[in-house]
Symmetry: C2
Subunit: 222 residues, 2 copies
Amino acid sequence: MASDQTRTSILSAAERLYADRGFGDVTLRDIVAAADVNLAAVNYHFGSKDELIAELFVTRSLATNRERLNELKAAEEAGGGRADIDSILRALVGPTLRGCLGPDRERSTAARFMIRASIESVPPIRRIKNREIDHLRKFAAAMRRALPDRDEVELYWGLHFALAMAHQTIRDSERLTKLSEGLCDLDDVEGIIERIVAVSVRALTAGAPAKAPEPVAVRRAR
Amino acid sequence: MASDQTRTSILSAAERLYADRGFGDVTLRDIVAAADVNLAAVNYHFGSKDELIAELFVTRSLATNRERLNELKAAEEAGGGRADIDSILRALVGPTLRGCLGPDRERSTAARFMIRASIESVPPIRRIKNREIDHLRKFAAAMRRALPDRDEVELYWGLHFALAMAHQTIRDSERLTKLSEGLCDLDDVEGIIERIVAVSVRALTAGAPAKAPEPVAVRRAR
DNA sequence: GATAGTTTCATACAACTGTTTGAATTGCAA
DNA sequence: TTGCAATTCAAACAGTTGTATGAAACTATC
């Protein structure tokens, strides 16, 4: 067991390097050089390079998921067991956006690492992401309780679009800044969150509140 | 000049392999084996592996951009020089979605290649994508003409969100299918396009039509 | 202080990568 | 047919990668 010092310096050096240069450009030799440990230490402590990446990503994404569920639970308790749709969507996209954007996003290694993880798709991370569906199902269930009259298909599309907007804003913040020539303020995370929540809610509650989906000309509902 | 046969069989073999297995897992030796040509042929005809990937991607994305602009121009001519916001957004997201989704998406190599290109981020493709901003500016300009009263910031966010929803639907169609347990019909491309357009239009036209952005609590407009 | 278990270290390994080379082959014009 | 350029080919190159090895150094227990 012992000191754990080698282990933790590998983890933090790896996270910093991956955040700065991406997964494709960082080798084990870069990591051990930055961490000032021996090359063999990575395989000794983590088993393989992929398991090191997986451990980094699991740690961070578990933290995000925990924050999400905490916010959801708080909103449900505040609403007497049923959260309104705004709060649910805010709980879904808020933690991720707060983690990855914001004024000090140049500083936070963890945030930059998670952005990399969402841009570059490496096998160990892909495997973990595939297990996230159970987590999302909890939000789908909460949404169903908040909008019991809505057709279920509409709920899934709303959830999907909310995540899409949040995700792409993180992935492509640079393009949006360039395109708008700085007009879109990406440091204002709370503003962005409200913007995404507002659009999603509007998408979910537009048209007739009945079960029959009307707002859009859906050809085959399957 | 001669036959071009080697060149084209490299291109089509490469596109198929990249579409099937991604950029990370396909080596030049895989490609030349599938194309049944000599290893050195790739460097002889394309200069390098990156230039081969770039040529594949440029060909496909130029085709998509051309389709987009054709649709936009058609809509502007139909509207007497000014297209309505629906048509503009449809021209923006339609060609991409039609290219990548749809019932025969298992068949089309080109479509699967473009999905890979949007998921895995390799340097040659990233370089080309960065040059796409001028292309998007044309759509921003058309949107400005269609909604002259809207604040410019809102337009950029609307454009960004429309692309986000389209892009993420392509990238993560599998997750949406799993999450909704097949309820969301991803074969109905036209329905998806209408859905994304409707949400984007609603986001762009909601609230006061005045210049002052009101629908969302934006902290710092910068 | 000897011992057993853990951790570190330098080094080597084996495999794979994109690229280059220079000779052989081909196709075509004179 | 001859000559010349374009193309193809087998082979090797030079570099990098993640991983494995076995000895050395450490640490805590008895």
